[in-house]
Symmetry: D3
Subunit: 139 residues, 6 copies
């Protein structure tokens, strides 16, 4: 019974900043540099979600990518796209919006509904710019 990893990409564009409210502007700038700009900045994020499982003998699918896309949109992308990550996103309340933390939070949003589809969530990969990305495997 072969196991296959299948991945779907969705995209969103959002504003955020890296700035702790309990720190001074100076300390925020010393720590986060230009990412601490008080008036925000933003990115086009690419999100790849990988699910691991055994292809169905009936359909040849590990998971229906259309269903996976719907879950990604409903749980994650529609909440982040053209939003402010720090102000507008329920699952990021009280969480500091580093790419690392955002990927972990996205995993938590997706894990239960993706696993209900029959496969197993394997990896959340989040790319912030063409030079930077993170991967979280749920561990």
């Amino acid at each position: 019974m072969p196991t296959v990893h299948i991945t779907r990409r969705e995209r969103f564009s959002a504003a955020h900043k890296l700035s702790r409210p309990d720190w001074s502007a100076e300390k925020n700038y010393a720590t986060f540099g230009k990412c601490s700009n008080p008036n925000w900045h933003g990115h086009n994020y690419d999100l790849w979600v990988t699910v691991k499982g055994i292809p169905s003998t009936e359909t040849g699918f590990v998971i229906d990518l259309s269903d996976l896309g719907k879950i990604m949109k409903a749980r994650v992308v529609d909440k982040l796209d053209h939003k402010n990550i720090d102000l507008d996103v329920d699952f990021m309340k009280g969480i500091y919006s580093s790419t690392e933390n955002l990927a972990i939070a996205i995993w938590k949003e997706l894990e239960a509904p993706v696993n209900e589809l029959g496969g197993r969530l394997f990896c959340v990969k989040l790319q912030e710019t063409e030079n930077n990305h993170v991967e979280y495997y749920g561990e």
Copy 2:
């Protein structure tokens, strides 16, 4: 003795459809959506094959990428490129052409001849569109 993973990409363009002959058109459409179009559709596929091994002290190579490319072409790409996956491809006869199943079938074609080159086949990655890809590790 360090172990390195080395990857080569080849590309092919092919037609296929997702449609079981033992199902009605309605059931196929309900299951596979637009992928079940009776008159076929097609894709540009990107195929990455990764081989794992110890670089030769003589050449610095895990495997000669030129040899790997020749095997990929002879065993896989030349059989798929500008073909109909469901009608023209010997190693896909009787196999349902989901991306998952195609990646598994490509692994089976490549495993023996790649391992004869001295490395060990590690991963077949097959990308169907910029938003969708699968990976198969032979397990």
Copy 3:
């Protein structure tokens, strides 16, 4: 009054072949090579549509890209995506599906509705593979 060119990309995946019914299989193969495979092949096509115009002082837009996207989908992409260009597409009936001819036919579908939006259709760019594309400027 500055003039700006604005471009939107949409994508579709389709099957086709290059093969004239009034020619023998041999002549078709001699002329079109592997593209003449009787059982079809396919591609992921990238379509860029460029509109030229003066940005509105009210909105800053040459054209609403959302409206342009809707026209591209309704007139072109939904008719081509996961279809057989030679069998399924009304505006390609009797037209030979070279990339050149397909770009010209797409221009004809888009010209009137795009120009109604207020800008002027400037270019249809159609990419068939990462190595091949055509551009048509309506002339």
Copy 4:
């Protein structure tokens, strides 16, 4: 004396929104959709600047790309990168931040210093997402 077009790309990440202060939230949303989110959103922008000229017989250069890069950074990129286009950027004060208007404003910033280098500014291309871009030729 051959004329060559030479292009350099720089990138920046910024926040903005499309929302007129003299309109109601409802009218802004009806016109600009999700781009009108009051708490901002953002993008990774790719900026290509093309200069046209005759290669120097001494250096083979139309323009020193290093000099062009410095001008692009000093006049445009450093002012936009990790900033809010609507709040932080001197040359966008009172200008509505559609991609069209931003490209025109960037042209105005670059025209004089680029032309001093010896070539002639030919095109400002600004890409907001992988699906959308504008080009401005100074006319």
Copy 5:
């Protein structure tokens, strides 16, 4: 009779340097910076060649892209690929290997044989890195 632009990409990897033999090392470094390294450096170049013409009513082609590819390989790519542009390439003897000059020289190699195919050479685009490219239109 519609006119279409059709483009084919080929790639080559080559070494070169920017350094005039009649200048001192100091002057070369002051002018060309790291590009003047005496021991060479190198790039993966992407070459796009665009041909303009009327699609044949018989084949739908402006030009057979397979023929264009053969010309590009025989006249240009095979001479440059895995070569030293300054030492190994007949058509670059005595020409300084800026990207501008290389594009002009490629145009001269391609103009006659491409025009014999029936279309008309329109543009040579040469990309040296993801941030830099030139275009030459034969004027």
Copy 6:
């Protein structure tokens, strides 16, 4: 305590050849083909460095990507960019410049300074062309 993989890309352009001085030109050509060209060739290399660790509760970072970038530049990229890998690079002296060996050597340069930052070096991925890349995990 979740563990995240974070990756940064840097780029360099360099010359090299694959040619053993203790072999004849004929044997080198038979083994390495066009890569053995005596006058060198070159590439644009993309280097991705992945670090594994637990995001700081204070900053949300596994590692400061700005610090990682500085280490990558000081230890690796500045030594390779616009250089000859076989002649100019201290950490490649006596090492044969296959992509495999180069990735291993880069790992050795980065391991200690990256681990001092607090994370743990996980992968060095080095891409030589769009069709070829290697990954080294330090084992």
